[in-house]
């Protein structure tokens, strides 16, 4: 296992623990925590604070029958729960987002491919496949962008990102992630607004590819 050098932030982990992170970002954080024991330990710390806040907070009496009703149901067969195991480079939360199926890649040209996992008004999350030496189409974003490397590595104006590293980029960063020599770079990328391409042709393609 190579060392992970780029982590999520405490603010993101606290927002994730408290449930106040949009689904696309929550997926990247859950995937990164699956790969990074430092952030797993940090998340545990945030959960401990959450537990302390809950324990010390105001109590509300439960109605009389609640306890008996819960105790009565202990032997009920719980509804079957579908779980997705890690598969090759994809940690289990990514497999869950893929519903257990392989990614459905769509070409973006120049060997670059994407597989959109979800996209709506609140944001989007996708897998990107970038062959060695190729760049992501030049883009800027209107909010935050989280990019987690699952295979290979990329470099951009801010540094080098290998497997498990996550880049947290804000709208002031106009960057050109380029896959390094080696296996194709596969990333999980979430943005809270559609990416804006800075060159004309991808901009025309944007409505078609929803990138």
């Amino acid at each position: 296992m190579t060392a992970i050098n780029h982590h999520t932030s405490d603010a993101l982990l606290a927002a994730y623990a408290s449930g106040n992170l949009a689904q696309p970002f929550a997926l990247v954080v859950a995937a990164h925590v699956s790969m990074c024991i430092e952030c797993r330990a940090a998340l545990l710390a945030h959960q401990t604070v959450g537990g302390a806040v809950m324990e010390a907070g105001a109590q509300a009496a439960c109605s009389g029958g609640l306890k008996a009703s819960i105790l009565d149901r202990l032997d009920d067969e719980p509804a079957p729960e579908i779980t997705y195991a890690r598969s090759s480079i994809f940690p289990s939360p990514v497999m869950a987002a893929l519903k257990g199926k392989p990614p459905r890649w769509k070409s973006l040209g120049m060997g670059v491919r994407q597989s959109i996992l979800s996209a709506d008004d609140t944001g989007s999350v996708r897998l990107l496949y970038i062959p060695a030496g190729r760049a992501m189409p030049d883009h800027s974003h209107s909010g935050m962008e989280l990019t987690l490397v699952l295979q290979g590595s990329f470099s951009d104006e801010t540094g080098r990102f290998g497997v498990g590293d996550v880049e947290v980029a804000f709208d002031d960063l106009e960057h050109t992630p380029t896959a390094n020599v080696g296996p194709a770079c596969i990333c999980l990328a979430a943005a809270d607004a559609p990416l804006r391409f800075t060159s004309l042709i991808p901009r025309m393609l944007q409505p078609i590819f929803r990138i």
């Binding site: 710390a45 302390a52 940690p91």
Partner: protein
């Protein structure tokens, strides 16, 4: 710092090789009551202990859930779901890593968000535990001592700081708002990270050696 010295000593003790004479459940008198109940539920499927957990956490959960704007009836539905999850997923509770309240907090937040958004929250992969059900009381006590120090630190915050922490962990602040809170004592949180990290490294090492 004094507190760091205490923790380092505990970490050292926690990494002594597991002793052969350890018994699966050996709740120590010093162990906090919720941990003792939770271990009885996990290892003994003890309904009385589960009832005691409900008596302790039920009203706290309901109060916590209602604070984020859920009405009483729906809050009780969520309390029921959370407590049934505690019973059914008790095997995932690991007192060497987390306090009962931390574990239940995350179950409660996940459930409440799933109910509100009507979608499943992405959750991290479960870390495979080493194949042992041995209880290392000193490690559990270290985790509890850590949490007790954290609670003491929270109690010492100014009312403003405490209000911000509460809002953050009740899910009322976005990550941008949390980052913008320069007065938020995240250092308190960060000082706790090291012990958990050591434990995870220890467990992973144990897995590789199997």
């Amino acid at each position: 710092m004094h507190t760091d010295l205490i923790n380092l000593k505990d970490v050292g003790r926690a990494y002594a090789p597991p002793r052969k004479d350890m018994h699966p459940v050996e709740p120590s008198a010093e162990m906090n009551q919720q941990t003792v109940w939770m271990l009885a539920v996990r290892d003994g499927r003890d309904r009385a202990a589960f009832g005691a957990l409900f008596d302790f956490f039920g009203p706290r959960l309901k109060g916590f859930i209602m604070r984020s704007g859920t009405n009483g009836a729906q809050a009780e539905d969520i309390v029921q779901d959370v407590m049934l999850t505690v019973w059914r997923k008790a095997h995932l509770f690991d007192p060497h890593r987390a306090q009962v309240s931390a574990w239940i907090y995350q179950i409660a937040r996940n459930r409440q968000i799933d109910v509100i958004r009507k979608e499943r929250r992405p959750v991290p992969e479960e870390l495979k535990l080493p194949e042992t059900d041995e209880i290392d009381a000193s490690q559990i006590l270290a985790v509890e001592q850590d949490a007790a120090q954290l609670k003491a630190a929270l109690a010492k915050l100014t009312p403003d700081q405490r209000a911000i922490i509460e809002q953050a962990y009740l899910g009322e602040l976005t990550h941008q708002e949390i980052s913008a809170q320069s007065g938020l004592p995240l250092g308190t949180v960060k000082s706790r990270i090291r012990l958990g990290l050591e434990r995870l490294r220890h467990d992973l090492k144990g897995l590789r050696e199997q």
